[in-house]
Symmetry: C2
Subunit: 580 residues, 2 copies
């Protein structure tokens, strides 16, 4: 279960897909010099492999323990998390004024990727904090930022997102938690929070001395639905005059869940303001909660997509190593009858290349999306809009890839893959959450054909397809998929809501695969050029040629086959019969 | 977690796809009258739902316990198994002379399906026994049959298959267990068995008072590889003169595995003849082991394919029930803003119809294959040959469907799907073994493009495609897939081994989907005809119209998109680079 940070690959994608050099040409990101980028990628890779990776199985087997409202993390977690904080790997994209380094979000994504490849469950603690930071940056007051950001940025405190309630999952607007403004006394201006939230990732643990909950709740008289929701910052402990956690705040963890995977991540049921006053500060305006939440969600959705990359990379490495060592059967049709390592058998090679190609595609898509948000911050409006289109693609498609690759990883191991001690099964279990949380993949597909496709009458999506088609000149399968995407897009733009939604998932898969195909084609050409001029790591570049060719030749055409499904319309989906 | 036996569906498929009526027209299967078939299907459905289904979660949570070589099943299992034996549900397809009922194997498959839908892990005990029966029927002596069959047929004793050793998984020929003939004394003629076998399903347990192990081993001086392998019957306890288990036989269970799923099924490491003599009877001729094993494997492969149906049915029912009750969000684009059950949202309906359509397709494929083996027994040589082609399709494709449907089942549940107590996660874990054991799905694909495609120069496969194309007259998507299958088949027949193997898996998926598409088209027509004449269960028939239309319109065209992958050839799969 060794794990080697894929640094050559990461740097290659940062270079050719994220265009980190173009970011560094701007003053704002001037610190992202090639040396700095390399130092970060190598440094976090090493840290993750040494400090986080050994905990992956520990967390899976020795789950966090809940007792009397407190959650104790398994042995080694507290020390590893502290090492992360001490090493300064916390949100490097935060402004320097609050302890960050003002570096691109793309690089912060690479840090999360490295940690999560080493230990996906544990790294969830690091994934939600950036969302809280982004929300405070966008909507917090200067006082709130000064109070909360430095410890969130360093990771000394973690942030959580509290949306879900038992009857309010995908339908956030149905939530019932309340927030009532305190009008007098020392807490005047704060809000009394009351309610129950479920599925709160790292809602309680012993890694940090405070936890900053971002909680959606309703103020009295607020309208039904998402319009009536406000966002509150609710600390586990309120701070004293020196800004130290000091006062218990009526926040209680009622239990943690028994889950299929990511056992290293405690998923909490949180109770606010039940026996004791629970006070929160409003973030942004009353009833401006959803807008603020979207800021958190965009970062979180991209980073959950990144979890697909993480688990896919880890599963691929494990399968590739196993297949390079496991000896079984001679090559069929060969003259030599001695058994060979199974990575020489064609169908095992097919599985391994599929795993690699899908992983690389998901990574390229993730970095590309992260980069567009960075270019957006540099004033490139088109990039910012492109990022809006990409977020649902990254969240849904990269997490689907994570599941597929983890499942193939088991298959490569044969019978050993089904034995828990091998570790392949953990990836399969861990991977399965990512298509669910931060908006199910179905919600992402609805976001794509609803909000996103509707922008500029479909022209933002068409612009993406134009870019793909332009890059497909030498790749007929990609050209064909781009054409199919265009045809479905035109149909979708004119279709009624029910028809759009009925085809939303296959459409998302087509568009995401086309985008990945384009990014893989760009890498194919870059690898070829580097090989031609004799620069770079030859073995890496040759593998990149093979994986991109596999993706374009075998994965892209299958996506074209989804067009009939995308176009089938609501009438193809009868009401479901009731079961006895 | 209720489970309703899908008896209307099973009877419909037995009728229109398995053509059970045509079997009953022959003397041999005259007992399979419509009344008898209905009694069996309804009876086993009721038994499974009442007796096996409540144990599904028990087995998952309270795993079988190994202690000092003995395995104790969780509470309730022994009683349930005894009830199965007492009710006479054991191998009904065995000859009456040995306690069977001489009914079609197809009906025995339905019995296994019903039990396995209720509890997939537990039912493994019932899946391997038929293999042992088939091997004894084909190669056992009359004395062996009389001695062993009655208790295997009733289920009083269970059978196991012992192929795998640590260095001999897919490569069965690499096995090292030995068998040396006893030449004198009271055991003359028997063989002393020595060796270690792994991954032995129900190799040890407390359900029965004896266990009949079928063990592959090598006689002294036997050639390397599969040619040198013989098959032995090795009882846990040797029998006394009255045929009662009496003498300990040097068979020891060294441990059981800690697995991802099917926790209700103990997977044993078995040691033969270590501290004590272990005696076995040869089944068939020395070095005729693989031939005999293939008989066991064909039955087992079909029944493992059936596990795909089982888990898919169970997961679909659970998801459909959840979605019919869970209220979340108003319909997008509708005027009414009240939240609805999620099975009304288009993308959830898409998932549920996909689950149903795939489940029904896998069931039709399984019954069709089982029926061809029955028609083969009735002297229809073409049916017997058709079954040979179908076995790898059933084993691989139905188990792939099981995994896909179980995964969709989690997704339909949203966050609740990831919580173990919900039960959806168990299906996802259980399902994952089926593509691995009884010959990995990759081995099935190799069998298809190797042994099976080679029969009659490819004409057996072409004959299947002709039938599909003939049935596709009204279904253009199926016609297109049949054409693609034909083109790939022609290419495969002329291709070198490496190229065939490189495309074997996508080719298998195409051919299996085309076969399923054909069987779904037949059902579509049958349902339409029944609706037109006003016979049958209207709600069922309308759902059948919807599911078959979904399959033909949305799943079939996606399989056509796999053709480039099937045709890519070995050159598209470079050697894998070694990882650091």
């Amino acid at each position: 279960m060794t794990y080697t940070p894929p640094t050559t690959e990461q740097l290659f994608v940062l270079d050719h897909i994220a265009r980190i050099d173009a970011m560094a040409a701007h003053d704002k990101f001037a610190a992202a010099t090639p040396d700095m980028v390399e130092a970060i990628v190598n440094g976090i890779g090493e840290f993750a492999a040494e400090v986080y990776a050994p905990l992956n199985r520990v967390g899976d087997v020795q789950n966090p323990k809940w007792e009397d409202g407190k959650v104790t993390m398994p042995p080694g977690f507290k020390e590893a998390y502290q090492a992360f904080v001490d090493a300064g790997w916390g949100s490097i994209d935060a402004p320097e004024a609050y302890g960050g380094q003002g570096l691109p979000f793309t690089l912060a994504t690479v840090i999360i990727e490295a940690l999560g490849t080493a230990d996906m469950g544990f790294t969830l603690c690091n994934i939600l904090t950036p969302g809280a930071i982004h929300a405070l940056m966008a909507y917090g007051t200067e006082e709130q930022r000064q109070t909360w950001l430095p410890n969130l940025v360093s990771g000394a405190w973690n942030g959580t997102m509290n949306l879900t309630e038992p009857a309010a999952g995908s339908d956030v607007g149905a939530l019932r938690s309340t927030a009532e403004k305190v009008t007098e006394g020392e807490h005047a201006g704060l809000y009394r929070i009351k309610g129950q939230k479920i599925f709160i990732t790292f809602g309680e643990h012993d890694l940090t001395d405070n936890i900053v909950h971002l909680v959606l709740a309703r103020t009295p008289g607020a309208p039904e639905g998402t319009r009536g929701i406000s966002l509150f910052l609710v600390p586990k402990y309120r701070l004293d005059a020196d800004g130290k956690p000091a006062h218990s705040n009526g926040v209680r963890c009622a239990s943690i869940e028994h889950k299929l995977g990511i056992h290293g991540s405690p998923t909490a049921v949180m109770i606010y303001g039940e026996d004791e006053d629970c006070l929160g500060e409003i973030v942004g305006a009353e009833m401006g909660g959803m807008r603020a939440m979207f800021v958190m969600m965009n970062a979180a959705r991209l980073l959950v997509g990144c979890q697909g990359v993480q688990i896919a990379e880890r599963a691929t490495q494990q399968a590739q190593r196993f297949a390079a060592e496991r000896v079984q059967s001679a090559l069929v049709g060969g003259i030599d009858r001695s058994p060979v390592t199974i990575d020489q058998h064609p169908d095992v090679r097919r599985m391994l290349w599929r795993m690699r190609a899908q992983t690389e595609a998901a990574r390229a898509l993730t970095y590309y999306a992260a980069a567009q948000t960075d270019f957006g911050k540099l004033g490139d409006e088109a990039a910012a809009m492109r990022a809006e289109i990409l977020i649902p693609l990254v969240k849904a498609h990269a997490t689907d890839i994570g599941c597929e690759v983890a499942s193939l990883g088991i298959q490569v191991h044969g019978g050993m893959g089904f034995i828990e001690e091998t570790g392949a099964a953990q990836h399969y279990r861990d991977a399965r959450i990512a298509p669910i949380y931060e908006g199910t993949n179905g919600i992402q597909a609805a976001d794509l054909v609803g909000r996103k496709l509707g922008m500029a009458g479909g022209d933002l999506v068409r612009g993406l397809i134009d870019d793909i088609a332009h890059g497909a000149a030498d790749f007929p399968e990609l050209q064909q998929l781009a054409d199919a995407c265009r045809a479905v897009t035109d149909w979708m733009v004119g279709a009624i809501t029910g028809d759009r939604l009925a085809g939303s998932y296959p459409y998302l898969t087509m568009l995401a695969t086309a985008t990945c195909g384009w990014l893989m084609a760009l890498q194919h050409q870059a690898a070829k050029a580097a090989l031609d001029e004799g620069s770079g790591d030859r073995a890496f570049l040759e593998a990149k040629i093979a994986s991109t060719r596999f993706y374009l030749g075998q994965i892209v055409p299958a996506a074209t086959g989804l067009a009939p499904s995308a176009l089938a319309g609501d009438a193809a989906l009868a009401p479901l019969p009731r079961l006895a």
